[in-house]
Amino acid sequence: MNFPARTPVRMMEADDLALVSRAKSGDAEAFRALVVRSQRRVYAVALGIVKDRDLAWDVSQEAFVRVHAHLADFKGESSFSTWVLRIASHLAIDALRKERTSSKEDVDELRDPDLAAAGEGILATGLGNDPQQNLLRRELATHMTQALAQLPEKHRAILVLREVEGLSYEELAERLEIPKGTVMSRLFHARTKMQALLRKYVGVRPAPDDEASAPAERAGTRRRGDS
């Protein structure tokens, strides 16, 4: 899981296991505590994949209901939150598949214009990746989720599964039922499209043809949030 952890992970997992043990024996309040501890992370993953808030809410609740039904099967081989997130992302992908139209989706072939569209280094320069600084930037969060919502569902899903749930190429291939090579190219396209959408927010025009001078130009770029 790639969410920033506020509580030491091992301590939280130990607490989760204790709650799971109580919930297995029928303690409803223990199960409620488990839900409360991970509900926002589960919702965040579901929202990232399905993009619709109400559907994400429903998928998140369904994930916890399924978890409750299969508590006896939970052996503690992974953390409780990993288990819930896995179920939630499965349900979210299933929800997408049910809603999928028959329209042909764009291909995952890689071409030169795709490289240019990504805008090399624009995000890193324009936004930075300091979590503490950016966490406070509500506007950025809104732009990020809006950009994510504009991606085709297959790109949205793979990006969230990779960057938020933290799945490996192998796990992505298995979860999405696509070859590993397609995982890599689809991830590239998803990132490229996301970066292209965020370029407007950053307010920078890339100069992909001028690679040698690009870093210097980017270093001098004025950040939108600095004004």
Partner: protein, 166 residues
């Protein structure tokens, strides 16, 4: 072919996700290509910000009713699951449930031996030797006997040891 086209999809791979040869080639390319280094930096930024952005969206929503709604949904799911499994706990339910789920196998398992038995009866009936027509039921004053007429003479199947008239 632009070498960046080959390496761009590999950018962002975690240790061990690429074959060693590809990982080495990517590292060499990144060392030489500022554009791909910039792409890698963008990917890192996106990864760092995306989960924060989604969590910020989640934090902006009121979750005060969420756990109550989850707990309220559990009985309905449990009932539905029980309905799928069958609500009775009789020991024979497993057998009948299996029969319901394997209708074709059950039908074939019943039909094939029955057809085989019919085929054997027909085959035996058409073969040489004593057939049904050769079986006689003789009724005498002492009782009845079923007699099979063979080339070795009459054989009493049921009844008196000696058939009538012998």
């Amino acid at each position: 072919m632009n070498p960046c086209l080959r390496f761009a999809p590999m950018i962002g791979a975690r240790p061990g996700e690429l074959p060693d040869e590809d990982a080495r080639a990517l590292a060499e390319h990144l060392a030489a290509c500022s554009a791909c280094r910039a792409r890698a930096a963008d990917g890192d930024t996106l990864a760092a910000l995306l989960s924060q952005a989604l969590l910020a969206e989640a934090n902006a929503r009121d979750f005060s009713t969420f756990s109550d709604e989850v707990l309220a949904r559990i009985p309905a799911y449990r009932d539905a699951a029980a309905g799928r499994r069958g609500t009775s706990a009789r020991p024979t339910d497993g057998f009948w449930a299996w029969i319901r789920h394997h209708r074709f196998a059950t039908a074939m398992g019943t039909l094939v031996p029955a057809l085989a038995a019919v085929a054997i009866v027909i085959y035996v009936g058409r073969g040489e030797g004593p057939g049904p027509d050769d079986v006689l039921v003789q009724v005498t004053a002492e009782g009845s006997a079923t007699v099979l007429d063979t080339s070795d003479g009459p054989v009493v199947l049921f009844g008196e040891d000696e058939p009538a008239g012998t």
